[in-house]
């Protein structure tokens, strides 16, 4: 991990004040993390997430919420400490494969997924003569086990997207153009008034409400899944979805009527079948590429002197 911005004075003072306590709490001595190197790690983590105007108290509170022992273990592994690596394998190797199996749902794919991440965690590539480990990017905001699941899921999604595109291209090449699906005739665009009214109603939604709607209606997730994502009860999501659906319909109708539609006309426009709507495929694809894929990237290696 390499700091992208200088460590502010409040952060530095908070780190210095808590260093002894956190160093002992993380068991850093056993895994070869010196105080100096751990101080630098804490400063970088705090600087990454805290705003520049943070106070000493905020920095202190933030540092106390970190998973200190897991942060120390991950950073010690990234620094190449063997005892830390053995400890990591003992604790997480089996969980890594189990999580991969749960995500991929197929044994060979799961093993492939886990092995690739395992290589990244160990750091098979080098930069400036040093092993580059993905564990160096772990900051202790969540649990190390949860972080491993997340990076597994990121890798799985990246692979899926790559495979999907590749297969599409292969199929096109093998089948030839005669088997290519006929291009649908361009459908008339939806009434611009309907789109604007819908966009206005969606924009007025709370972020979480919009996320719930997208997860339920767009992703097809169950109420239970959404509830787990947000850490609430399933019934809460059920009520929220019902309420949001009713509210959206009313708001869109009101927006359409404000734009000069009669109520009957607005209702007919709202109930128009999806076949009448132009599904903007290119735009959807653009959404996929608008944001770069979850990365191979950003393992920012911090060269630390004397670490390990």
């Amino acid at each position: 991990m390499r700091a992208t911005k200088p460590i502010s004075a409040p952060v530095q003072s908070a780190v210095s004040g808590l260093l002894a306590e956190l160093h002992a709490k993380g068991g850093c001595e056993k895994i070869g993390l010196t105080r100096e190197s751990f101080e630098a790690i804490l400063g970088e983590v705090a600087t990454k997430y805290l705003p520049a105007s943070t106070t000493h108290a905020d920095a202190r509170t933030f540092l106390l919420t970190l998973r200190i022992d897991e942060l120390a273990l991950a950073q010690a592994c990234a620094a190449g400490n063997n005892s830390a690596w053995e400890l990591f394998l003992t604790r997480y190797r089996e969980k890594l494969y189990q999580s991969a199996l749960r995500i991929a749902r197929e044994d060979s794919a799961a093993r492939d997924l886990a092995d690739s991440l395992y290589a990244e965690l160990y750091g098979t590539t080098t930069r400036n003569g040093e092993r580059v480990s993905k564990l160096a990017s772990f900051t202790g905001r969540g649990s190390l086990e949860g972080w491993l699941r997340t990076v597994l899921a990121q890798e799985f999604v990246n692979r899926y997207r790559r495979t999907k595109r590749l297969v599409s291209l292969d199929e096109e090449g093998e089948d030839g153009s005669q088997f290519a699906a006929p291009q649908p005739e361009p459908l008339p665009s939806a009434d611009s008034r309907l789109e604007s009214a819908t966009d206005a109603a969606l924009a007025a939604l709370d972020r979480e409400d919009r996320m719930v709607l997208a997860a339920y209606y767009l992703d097809g997730r169950t109420l239970a899944e959404i509830a787990r994502m947000l850490g609430v009860h399933e019934s809460t999501i059920s009520r929220k979805v019902d309420k949001l659906a009713n509210s959206l319909r009313k708001k869109i109708l009101a927006g359409l009527m404000q734009q000069g539609m009669a109520r009957r006309q607005a209702e007919e426009a709202l109930e128009v079948d999806v076949r009448d709507l132009q599904v903007d495929i290119r735009r959807s694809l653009a959404q996929d590429s608008a944001v770069r894929a979850f990365s191979k990237k950003e393992v920012q290696v911090r060269s630390r002197e004397g670490s390990g």
């Binding site: 905001r141 939806a190 819908t198 979480e208 919009r210």
Partner: protein, 392 residues
């Protein structure tokens, strides 16, 4: 679940404008450890980024106690109790509840019938009091069972065979008579104390109470309690039309309810000198007209006998054997908890006969007893009343 217009689904597909949160933030969000602006930022991104929603969903920790409903459309978590199954379960629960209440009520009804409805189930032997209708004949028992009649006849024949003055209606030659344990003797109140002591009662349920004790003390203590007034009221049921109602003695030893419950009768002598018995632990009391009952057994008189005024009572610990004494040397004895009574006439060899009012009866054991009269005389028996001696 409410559906939304399809245009809403389409417009929800707007692309995410910002970069993806890093794995640490997504992990912290999934573990509910993000708060404030950081969480808002992640949620805002998730609202527009299907990939990150997918990642969050995939990275959720496995559920240890996974909900059985994966595609729940309602709030109720148990699929077996949903819909019709739940309705049928409700109906079944209701039926069980009704049946339970009915059973409890039926048992309670039976209990009260046994305790208080003996005269109704077996119409009482209405013996008009001589002071009211002295010339009226003794009504024939209306509902006395055939078994009781046979039992009465057997008692009469046995009584006739008795050689001494102690006439017993109980088959003393019973090969296996029930052992009679210690008695609880009650000294009847003296005439001067009658005003203070309304009743002398012996509760015979526990062996400890079978010991010799001064029941009068208990009576005085009982007088002060409100429950006592109720008991006295119940102990004096208004006789129908002024006649002296004698409750027929229930066949205690043959009554299955009685035997099943193991209830022992309670005995008392009221302040007016009536002998009463309770079969429900003292809740209700019924007069026992031992004099007329005994007279009918003996079949010696057609006219009703004026019942004596009882002063003394002695009850065995199992309440089966009872001695009751009162005015005019009236001494009655039962060994079957009042099913049948025998008049006992203590007399000595010199022709002396007990004639005074019996004030106390004390039995130290089933055989040895002492009777004190108002004359004053003290009579003792060493053989359960077969022979008597008058103490000088």
């Amino acid at each position: 679940m409410e559906s939304v217009p399809k245009i809403v689904v389409k417009r929800l597909q707007s692309p995410a404008a910002d970069s993806h949160p890093d794995a640490d933030l997504l992990t912290a969000f999934a573990e509910q450890s993000l708060a404030g602006p950081e969480r808002d930022h992640v949620v805002g991104h998730l609202a527009n980024c299907g990939d990150c929603r997918e990642i969050i969903s995939l990275a959720l920790p496995p559920q240890v106690d996974r909900q059985p409903v994966a595609h729940s459309s309602g709030w109720f978590p148990w699929p077996l109790l949903r819909g019709s199954a739940f309705r049928w379960a409700s109906v079944a629960a209701g039926l069980v509840l009704i049946a339970s209440v009915g059973t409890v009520q039926y048992r309670r009804q039976q209990g009260s019938d046994l305790a208080s409805n003996f005269p109704q189930a077996k119409p009482p032997i209405a013996v008009p009091a001589p002071s009211v209708e002295p010339s009226s004949p003794v009504p024939v028992p209306l509902a006395r069972s055939q078994n009781q009649k046979e039992k009465l006849a057997a008692s009469q024949s046995q009584t006739a065979l008795a050689e001494n003055k102690l006439s017993r209606s109980v088959a003393k030659h019973n090969p296996t008579p029930a052992p009679v344990p210690q008695r609880a003797a009650v000294a009847g109140p003296s005439p001067t104390e009658e005003a203070q002591s309304e009743t002398a009662q012996v509760a015979t349920e526990s062996p400890a109470q079978s010991q010799m004790q001064d029941q009068r003390t208990q009576s005085k203590a009982a007088e002060q309690s409100p429950a006592y007034a109720n008991r006295v009221d119940k102990a004096k049921p208004a006789p129908p039309q002024g006649s002296l109602a004698m409750a027929p003695a229930p066949a205690l030893h043959t009554d299955p309810h009685f035997l099943k419950r193991g209830m022992a009768p309670s005995w008392t002598v009221t302040v007016s000198g009536s002998l009463q018995r309770s079969l429900d632990g003292g809740k209700t009391w019924l007069d026992v007209d031992v004099a007329n009952q005994e007279a009918q057994f003996e079949a010696k008189q057609s006219a009703p006998v004026v019942p004596p005024i009882f002063h003394a009572l002695s009850v065995s610990s199992n309440a089966a054997e009872v001695w009751a004494g009162g005015s005019g040397g009236a001494l009655y004895h039962t060994v079957d908890a009042g099913n049948s009574w025998a008049r006992v006439l203590p007399s000595a060899a010199a022709g002396l006969v007990l004639s005074g009012d019996i004030l106390s009866i004390q039995f130290s054991d089933p055989q040895n007893g002492t009777v004190t009269t108002s004359t004053p005389e003290v009579w003792t028996t060493p053989d359960d009343g077969r022979t008597w001696q008058k103490k000088p």
